[in-house]
Amino acid sequence: MITREPVYTDAPPNAIAGLGRAIVLGLGDIGRAGSMTAQALVGMPLLLFCARRRRECVRQMFHMGIKTLPVISVVGMFTGMILGLQVGLELRRFNQEIYIGSAVMVSLLREMGPFMTGLILAACVGSSMAAQIGTMTVNDEIAALEIMSIDPVLFLMTPRIAAMVFMTPVLSFYTCVLGVIGGGIVGLTQLNVPWDQYIVMAMDIARLRDLYVGLFKALLFGIVITGVSCYEGFTTTQGAVGVGQATRRSVISSFLLILILGYIVTRMFYDL
């Protein structure tokens, strides 16, 4: 049951009680968002049997993937160029600028590729999801679905989470490729590192495990962004103001979770 009545509570008697209540409410939100996300993930196999839901999933993939491609391309390219330049300037002091390929490749595959992709998708796609579902909630469209006995999580969230699970790793890989190209351009034009030498150094250090871990991170980011954004949308109250607040909260929470999860996954897969 998604549609819920507003919860009215008395003002807390003091700041400590207020903090305690905020923590309890926050934990409740995390639990409900997690359970909703799990329900949407469990529903993914149903997409295989329903042509309409499959079409919706493809529509979401187009919306998430193709429409964010220009932003992703610019961000990916410039992230690689900035990395190449910063690392190259330092390495040049030791006449080791030929190693910028290695530095750019490792940074992008392990961290920057999925991280930048996650941030862009949270800002572009997550905010749009929260706003759309939030508007549906305040216009009683979610309640209407529930009265028609159509599960809003399976109907709205599952195609979105499936599209994100597929598109985020693809976009992350694309960001890495463009970033490596960007780093190579900086190396060639400003640090006098030949293209073939740059690529050899980059490919020499690249390991499949780095790629897999990076793609796994991207996949997790996709799930988190969809879970947070849809939950914020489903729990929107108070009309247009509420939609704005839900959108803002979805972006902030997604950013924070991307950072925290990024660290946890890195710590899990790379020993000190």
Partner: protein, 250 residues
């Protein structure tokens, strides 16, 4: 049968429904009237468990809908059609797709059968020419009629109408009143209508209830309602220029 059993509802310390008990027998058209903010829509939302009573219980035949959850609630809700105040159409679907949605999602009808039922529902609310339009391309009144078509397309046992005629021109409003009456006669649909439009309630309802202060201060047939001496009812009737003789002219 819909039964409210001593239902009390508090929202933020405000008592909206105060120990409300009533029954609506199968096949009846029951209108709830009253001033704004007295809990008419809240009463309606309790019937499909969009709201849960603070105390008391809501029964739909043998099912206590105020206590069920999950699959049982979904099953109980399948018996309902619900017309929301704003229509609540999905903005990215055309009017036809909106109306076909419950049939596509919850039945095994073929596309031809769905198209036939959708055309019939569109015709019933006078939107035959507007099926291919998106909700943003039609007026608020038309959105409400499309919402009504969606509510009735599955021919549910119970239809709940939240302000079905507000924002409609008088001719269309009377058409909707007649449609509610026709659905009741032809399909035996139980209808609960929340409205400010007393003219419409007098025309279509079997019983009218006046909700004030969280309680029904009058529940009677249209004729008895117009003749009632209860002060809140009289004020409401006077405000809509309906006298004790008013019903005779209709």
């Amino acid at each position: 049968m819909i039964r409210f059993d001593h239902v009390t509802k508090q929202l933020g310390g405000r008592l909206v429904l105060d120990d409300l008990s009533f029954e609506i027998p199968k096949g009846e058209i029951f209108a709830i009237v009253g001033p704004s903010g007295t809990g008419k829509s809240v009463t309606l939302k309790h019937m499909v468990r969009l709201m849960t009573p603070t105390r008391g219980a809501v029964w739909i035949d043998g099912t206590e809908i105020s206590a069920v959850d999950g699959a049982d609630l979904a099953r109980a809700r399948e018996r309902f059609g619900y017309l929301f105040q704003g229509g609540a159409l999905l903005g990215w679907m055309t009017v036809e797709e909106n109306i076909a949605l419950p049939l596509r999602e919850k039945t095994r009808l073929s596309e031809a059968e769905i198209a036939e039922r959708v055309a019939k529902a569109l015709c019933a609310v006078g939107l035959e020419e507007d099926g291919d339009k998106f909700p943003s391309e039609i007026s608020g009144g038309m959105q409400k009629r499309a919402g009504l078509a969606r509510a009735i397309v599955r021919e549910p046992e119970i239809v709940l109408y939240d302000e079905p005629t507000s924002g409609l021109d008088p001719v269309t409003a009377r058409t909707i009143d007649k449609l509610i009456r026709r659905l009741n006669k032809e399909l035996g649909i139980t209808s609960v209508v929340v409205t400010h439009d007393l003219q419409g309630a007098l025309l279509s309802a079997d019983r009218i209830a006046m909700l004030t202060g969280g309680r029904f201060v009058e529940v009677s047939s249209p004729h008895a309602f117009v003749a009632a001496d209860q002060p809140d009812v009289r004020r409401f009737l006077d405000a809509q220029f309906i006298s004790k003789k008013g019903i005779e002219g209709m």
